[in-house]
């Protein structure tokens, strides 16, 4: 039973992680790409951490709290990074939904 739960969580987490990166790679402009990784950092890593929390709490003595700490960090920091990235993008005037310009040294 527990094993099923664990497997499910692990798979879900990995999947979300993958989806996040997929979004990052495939979406067409920066602002949309910004969405992708948020899934990875919240849902993806979240599931995995719950999984490992369950895993270690059940097999080793005492419940392990590190995962909570990691989750806390991620959940606090994710929005900030996203916010800053968006700010930077706006500041640099990245146009939305435009095809990515050729990557050449800026003068």
């Amino acid at each position: 039973m527990l094993e099923y739960l664990l497997s499910f969580l692990i798979l879900a987490g990995a999947l979300f992680t993958f989806v996040g990166s997929l979004g990052l790679a495939r979406l067409r402009d920066f602002y949309t790409r910004l969405h992708g990784p948020t899934k990875a950092s919240t849902l993806g890593v979240g599931c995995l951490l719950i999984a490992s929390a369950l895993f270690f709490s059940t097999r080793s003595e005492g419940i392990s709290l590190h995962e909570v700490l990691v989750t806390l960090f991620l959940f606090i920091t994710a929005p900030i990074s996203a916010h800053l990235l968006a700010k930077a993008a706006l500041h640099l005037g990245l146009t939305s939904l435009a095809p990515p310009p050729e990557d050449k040294p800026r003068r």
Binding site: T17, F18, S21, F30, L48, L94
Partner: protein, 89 residues
């Protein structure tokens, strides 16, 4: 069962790493690269958690914790450089 899930998960996360790395390489803009780097840090966390479960050792959580922290600091620093140039003022 669990091992199967783990191996599948490894494959998925590996794929995620490749995709993020591609974005890191491709850019095109600086924020894209920073975002990619941030994502790679997230992927690394996932990787570590999986490794921890796989090896059944809890010694890797500090690494995960610190990656979470460092990823954030790095992203902030890089973004602030784009915004302000001078990041400590």
């Amino acid at each position: 069962m669990l091992t199967v899930a783990l191996s599948i998960a490894f494959v998925l996360v590996g794929a995620a790493v490749v995709l993020s790395a591609w974005r890191l390489l491709r850019g095109p803009s600086a924020p894209d690269r920073i975002l990619a780097l941030d994502t790679l840090y997230i992927n690394a966390i996932a990787l570590l958690v999986l490794l921890g479960i796989h090896l059944g050792s809890a010694l890797y959580f500090e690494a995960a914790l610190l990656i979470a922290m460092m990823g954030f600091v790095g992203t902030v620093a890089l973004c602030k450089y784009l915004l302000r140039g001078d990041i400590i003022e």
